[in-house]
C-alpha cells in the first residue's frame, strides 16, 4: 500500500446488528473487495445508533488506520447518526448542499411512497470539504472525507444494493488510485474431501508459514479447503508464485483434492459423469432426499441425474424397490444386504449407468446397541453391476442433520474416487 502503511478498517453502524436482527453481509462483501485491492484490512467494528459510541470508535480508528469504510446510519430517521457523529469526532459543522436537496426532491417526485419527505433533508448536510458519493439507487448520498491528514473516511448506506452500487461506481476507483499500490492479491483454492483439517495441517506446517504465497485452511462440516494467495503485479506473476506450492499440495494429497475454487463435490461429479455421458439415480432412505437435492441444487444436473426413489418406509422399499419382505426381516432395512439390493434394483428400474443407495440411522431415535445412531450403509452400483459397499459409523455426538450431510458427502466422494480409479 503506497500511501497506506497503517491499514483499512470497516465500521458497521446499526443497533439492528447488535440485536442480531440481521446478518452483516455488508462487512463480508466489502472485505472481499478490499482483499482484491490488496489492501491491509486488519480490523472491523460494529456499534449501535448511539452518537457518543460512534464518535469514540471513529476517534480510535483515526489514530491507528488511514482509511475507514462505514456502512449504515445515513437514512432520514432520528437514529441515523453517522454523518453527524463523524463531524463531531473532528469538531466540525455540517452544511447543507442545496443541489442535493433538489436531487432528492427530483428522485421522489415520481414516487408515491411519501406525502411528506422533509425528514430526508438531513441527508443533504455534510462537512464543508467532503466529496459526495452519489447514490443512484436511493436518496442517501455518502461521502469521501479526509478530516485529518492521512486519514480518509468513506460512508455508505446500510442497504446492500445501494452500498454495492455506490462502491462500484465511485469508491472502487477512488480507493484503487489513492490507496492501492501496484500489487494486487490473487487467490486459488484447493478443495479436499475424505481428510480432516488437522491431518492436512500437520503435513504442511512448513507451507502454512510461507509469506508469499500465503496458505490458509478453512474447515466446515465435512468440507475442507486451502486457499493459496499470492501478492503480485499481475496474474501471470501470481500464477508463477502459486504454481509450485499448488503442485506440491496436489502431489502430497492427490486423491483427497477433488477440485478448485468454485468446485463442489456435486458439481465435480456432474462434470465427470457428463464427460463420460453417463447417468445416475439414487435410492435414499436415511438421507430422505438430501443426496438428490445436493445434486439438483447445481444447474446442469439434469444432464446426468435422472431421478431417485426416496423409500423412507419399509413398505416402499418393498413396493418400489422390490426388496423382499424376507430380506427386510432377515437383515433389517439398515444392512449391507438391503442397501446393496436397493442400489442394484434402483439402477435397473430407473435405467441408469450408476446408482447409489443409502440406508442408515440418522437419529436421534431408532438406534440400538447393535445398530447405533450414526451407522450408515452406502452401496454404489456401476456399469456391469460392479458393486462397492461402504459402512460408516459417524460419531454419536453428531446430530441428525450432520449425519445426513456427512453421509451425502461420503456418497459423492466415494463415487468420485471410483470414477477416478476407473479412468486410470
Amino acid at each position: 500500500m503506497s500511501s497506506n502503511s497503517k491499514g483499512v478498517e470497516i465500521l458497521s453502524i446499526g443497533t439492528e446488528l447488535l440485536l442480531g436482527n440481521i446478518v452483516n453481509t455488508n462487512a463480508q462483501w466489502i472485505s472481499e473487495q478490499l482483499s482484491q485491492l490488496g489492501l491491509n484490512h486488519f480490523r472491523q467494528s460494529t456499534v449501535g445508533d448511539n452518537c457518543d459510541r460512534i464518535v469514540k470508535v471513529i476517534q480510535e480508528i483515526s489514530k491507528r488506520s488511514n482509511l475507514l469504510i462505514t456502512t449504515g446510519g445515513l437514512g432520514p430517521t432520528p437514529d441515523d447518526l453517522t454523518t453527524e457523529a463523524i463531524a463531531k469526532s473532528f469538531n466540525v459543522s455540517l452544511f447543507e448542499r442545496p443541489y442535493l436537496w433538489d436531487q432528492i426532491k427530483q428522485k421522489l417526485s415520481n414516487s408515491k411512497l411519501l406525502d411528506d419527505y422533509s425528514s430526508l433533508r438531513k441527508q443533504c448536510f455534510f462537512p464543508k470539504n467532503a466529496q459526495i458519493i452519489n447514490n443512484p439507487r436511493g436518496t442517501a448520498p455518502g461521502m469521501i472525507w479526509e478530516p485529518i491528514k492521512g486519514f480518509t473516511i468513506l460512508t455508505f448506506p446500510g442497504v446492500p444494493s445501494e452500498m454495492k452500487n455506490m462502491w462500484e461506481e465511485t469508491a472502487f476507483e477512488f480507493i484503487k488510485t489513492k490507496f492501492s499500490d501496484s500489487y494486487s492479491f490473487f487467490s486459488n483454492t484447493l478443495k479436499f474431501a475424505g481428510i480432516g483439517e488437522s491431518s492436512v495441517a500437520e503435513k504442511i506446517n512448513d507451507l502454512l508459514n510461507l509469506k508469499n504465497p500465503t496458505i490458509a485452511p478453512y474447515a466446515n462440516l465435512g468440507e475442507f479447503k486451502l486457499r493459496i494467495t499470492a501478492r503480485a503485479k499481475n496474474e501471470v506473476e501470481a500464477n508463477n508464485i502459486i504454481k509450485p506450492v499448488k503442485e506440491k499440495l496436489k502431489k502430497e494429497f492427490s486423491k483427497y483434492i477433488f477440485g478448485e475454487d468454485n468446485d463442489t463435490l456435486p458439481s465435480v461429479l456432474i462434470k465427470e459423469l457428463t464427460k463420460r455421458n453417463q447417468t445416475i439415480v439414487f435410492a435414499e432412505s436415511c438421507t430422505g432426499g438430501l443426496l438428490s437435492s445436493s445434486l439438483t441444487s447445481i444447474s446442469g444436473s439434469s444432464q446426468v441425474f435422472q431421478g431417485s426413489i426416496v423409500s423412507y418406509s419399509n413398505e416402499l422399499k418393498n413396493s418400489l424397490l422390490n426388496i423382499t419382505e424376507d430380506k427386510l426381516n432377515k437383515y433389517g432395512a439398515v444392512s449391507e444386504e438391503v442397501c446393496e439390493a436397493m442400489a442394484i434394483n434402483v439402477k435397473a428400474k430407473l435405467s441408469a449407468d450408476w446408482a447409489i443407495a443409502i440406508s442408515g440411522i440418522a437419529g436421534p431415535n431408532g438406534g440400538t446397541q447393535e445398530k447405533p445412531v450414526g451407522l450408515v450403509y452406502i452401496s454404489i452400483a456401476g456399469p456391469n453391476n460392479h458393486i462397492s459397499n461402504i459402512k460408516k459409523i459417524f460419531n454419536s455426538t453428531r446430530n441428525r442433520i450432520e449425519i445426513q450431510t456427512l453421509s451425502v458427502n461420503v456418497c459423492l466422494n466415494s463415487l468420485r474416487l471410483i470414477l477416478l480409479s476407473n479412468s486410470k
Copy 2:
C-alpha cells in the same frame, strides 16, 4: 445487569473474515442470544489470526467491558491463536490439562480419519484458573476465564454448530446467572408464512414502538418472525406482559402465523399429520429432493412421510409416475396438467393420504418467454382425491436455490392451510 454496568462485547477472530471468505453468522447468532438475556451488548470487533492484534484488542476490551465472547481460533493449526493471545494479554502461562487430552483421544478413537492427531494437543492448554466449556461436537473446548476482577472472557470455536451447542449447554446458564439482573428477558416468537415483512410491519407500526414488551421483526429467505420480548421478574409476569400483544397479533394475522418459537413449517406439518394419523408422499421435479429432505430433516418424520419419487427426467415421469407421453408433449412437464397428474398418481402408487407434486423452472437456464425461470406449479392431492393447484412465478432476480427453497415453503404452507381449513 447486576454485576454488569459496563457491557458485553463480541470478538470474532479469523483472517477468513477479514478476507471476506465467509459471512459472520456467529456474531448475529450470539447477538440474538445476548439480546434475549437482556444484556447491554454495545460493540463487536473482528480481527485476523495475528497474535499481536488479538492481544491489543483484548486489552482494549478489558478496559471498557465486563464480558467478552470470542469465536474462532481454537483449532489445532498454527494460525489458531486465541487462547494463547488471551493468556498473553494478561501475562499468564498456559498449562496442559491431561484429562482433556484423554477426552480428545477418546473422541477420535472411533474415527479412522487421522493417523496422527498430535497437533490437537495444543487444544488442551488453558490458563490455570480457567473453567472449561465442554465441546460435545468437536475436539476444541472453550473456556470461561476471569483474568482480572470484573472482566470475564468466554471462548468458542468458529464452527457454528459447535459454538451453538456449547452456548446452549454451558454458556447460556452461566451468563444468565452471573450477568443478568433480577429482571430477565422472556421471549415468545411468532412465525409467519405467506406474508412479507413490510406487509406485517406497516400494520403494526404502533406495536413496534412499545417498550415492554418490545417487538422485533426478523426476516430471512421465505421466513418471517416477530419476537415479543418482555422484561420481567419471572415467567408468570412475563406471560402477562406478552399475552395481550400476542393475542392482538394472532387476531390480526391469524392464518399467516404457522407456529411459535422452535416450530418450523415441516415440524408443524408433521405434527398436524401425526395428529390426524395421515401419511404423505411427494413427486418432485424442479425441487429435486429438497421437499423430501425438508421433512426428513425432522426427527419423527417417519410417522407420516412414506417416501417420494424424484422424477427429474421426463422418462421417469412417464415410467415411474405414469404420465403419458401424450400429456408431456401436449402440455410440457412444467404445466398444471402434468403436475396434477403427478400428484394423483404418486398418491395412488405410494398409497398415502396426501401427495404433493411440484414441477417448475428453477433456472438459471431452461426458461422461455412463455414459461420463464421462476414459474412453478404445485398440486396437492388429499383424501377423496380433492385437488388444489397452485401456480407461482417467483421474481426473476431469484437464483436457483432460492427458487427451490421458496417453492418448498409454498408447498408446506399450502398444505398447512388446507389442513387448517379442513379441521374447521
